[in-house]
């Protein structure tokens, strides 16, 4: 469904990604693991188009989308859950969700999607008139995911969704991610919560210094490699 080939990018003059090759299959959970600062977030941002790729290609559903703008990608069915939430704090929960359905693609299925996310996160329904900024951290994270789901995505890019959440909420969250996959969604996940994410992942990429150095199905990845990913090579 999504493929990157030799993706290179960075900030200003500093190169961060040095040729990233990823493949995400339809209906799977793919996760990228790696030490801090190796370029996981950068990879997602480059795929989504917040950062322009310097080299390489991104294809989505066999179409070359390398140079497409983020809003065009949302229209095509890619959703992005940024690191650190990025909600609209002064707007109500429902307004946030409404904005999640900003694209034409999503507008048509607004009602349907709304009841879907309310089913998924009943607490949000309770809080739908509350301002997003006053939600607790966990609720905010749920809202971020819900908002992404409102765009009727086929592929969802998630950047450390469990960060800063209470352990109990983290458990619930991974449960939700699993449910989403079962519902047919494709997920590309970046996580620091290694064990929890390995549990639900179908396919794993290990990243170091802007490159993928190992990959495989969950059971193919060795403890050794994972450790390496964190100590850094």
């Amino acid at each position: 469904m999504l493929e990157t080939r030799d993706l290179e990018s960075g900030y200003g003059e500093m190169q961060v990604l040095w040729g990233v090759n990823l493949k995400v299959n339809k209906g799977s959970i793919t996760t990228i693991l790696g030490a801090n600062g190796v370029g996981k977030t950068t990879t997602l941002k480059t795929i989504f188009g917040i950062i322009k790729p310097w080299k390489g290609t991104v294809t989505f559903k066999r179409e070359d989308v390398t140079l497409k703008k983020p809003h065009e990608k949302v229209e095509m069915g890619i959703a992005y859950v940024p690191e650190g939430r990025h909600l609209f704090p002064l707007m109500t929960v429902e307004e946030n969700l409404r904005l999640g359905a900003y694209t034409k693609r999503a507008e048509e299925r607004f009602e349907e999607n709304l009841s879907f996310v309310y089913d998924l996160f009943p607490i949000l329904k309770e809080r739908r008139k509350q301002r997003a900024g006053t939600l607790s951290g966990g609720e905010q994270q749920m809202l971020t995911i819900a908002r992404a789901l409102m765009s009727s995505p086929e592929l969802i890019l998630m950047d450390e969704p469990s960060q800063g959440l209470a352990p109990k909420v983290v458990m619930d969250l991974f449960e939700v991610i699993r449910k989403l996959k079962e519902g047919g969604l494709t997920i590309l996940l970046v996580e620091q919560n290694v064990y929890a994410s390995l549990e639900i992942a179908d396919y794993v990429y290990l990243m170091s210094e802007g490159r993928i150095f190992a990959e495989g199905r969950r059971d193919e990845i060795s403890e050794e490699d994972i450790r390496k990913a964190y100590v850094g090579v």
């Binding site: 801090n36 939600l135 609720e139 960060q163 800063g164 959440l165 352990p167 458990m171 620091q192």
Partner: protein
């Protein structure tokens, strides 16, 4: 007794963020504060460091009532903190960030001395090679480490850490815990109070744990005991972790 908060209350609109909290911290303690999201941990820190003034209650530091003291005077008395969402001085370099901490902290250092000390602390937390980078260019995690160094450089008596380890990989978590323990032992920093959702870190570090829930203290005590408390498991952990 280093710090005592008495019946502290703070609400925003209808939300009671901190709702009658009383506790004490003795000199030489390492405290962990945990609790569900939105239980008031950060707000409590804001009240202690003086970003907010409480609606009710008192903050007493080294026997002195500091409830209404402006934040900068508290810093001079020896209270330092980091921020849950990092707040570096973005356009200043990492070194300058830390030097500013040293300059205006508990000890009044000259500009030169402050820069020397800043180098020291950057080395300590392990980001000395970033020292000439503009702070806004760091990743969230690097920013957290920088904030840690910045707070340490202030030579506080009470150090309030707010999720410095969020998003940190397990290897680095261990390294930072060791570092904090070492500082706690060796420097004259009396207390480190740590808010964290990573139980592995809390268990390794804290001598005493305070669990907050809906603005109140739910339980407090030794880590093992507290984290196995059924109520804590119910509202916070979801299942047994140790």
């Amino acid at each position: 007794m280093l710090l005592r908060v008495e019946n502290l209350r703070k609400s925003f609109g209808g939300i009671k963020a901190v709702d009658g909290v009383t506790f004490e911290i003795e000199e030489g303690e390492a405290i962990g504060i945990v609790g569900p999201n939105g239980s008031g941990k950060t707000t409590l820190y804001n009240l202690i460091s003086g970003i907010y003034l409480p609606d009710e209650g008192k903050v007493i530091f080294e026997g002195r009532d500091i409830t209404n003291l402006p934040p900068y005077e508290r810093a001079k008395l020896g209270i330092a903190r980091t921020f849950q969402i990092p707040r570096p001085f973005g356009n200043a370099t990492v070194l300058e960030n830390v030097a500013i901490g040293a300059m205006f902290g508990r000890e009044k250092l000259s500009v030169e001395e402050a820069f020397e000390r800043a180098e020291e602390y950057l080395k300590l937390v392990g980001i000395e090679k970033l020292k000439h980078k503009e702070a806004k260019l760091l990743t969230p995690l690097e920013k957290r480490l920088m904030e840690l160094a910045r707070a340490l450089a202030m030579k506080p008596k009470l150090l309030l850490l707010d999720e410095v380890m969020a998003g940190m990989n397990p290897v680095d978590v261990d390294r930072i815990i060791e570092l904090l323990k070492k500082i706690h032992r060796e420097e004259d920093i009396a207390i480190v109070s740590m808010v964290e959702h990573l139980m592995q870190a809390i268990v390794k570090f804290a001598e005493r744990v305070i669990v907050m829930h809906q603005g109140k203290i739910l339980v407090e005590g030794e880590p093992e005991k507290v984290l196995n408390h059924p109520k804590v498991i119910e509202v916070y952990l979801g299942k047994k972790v140790i």
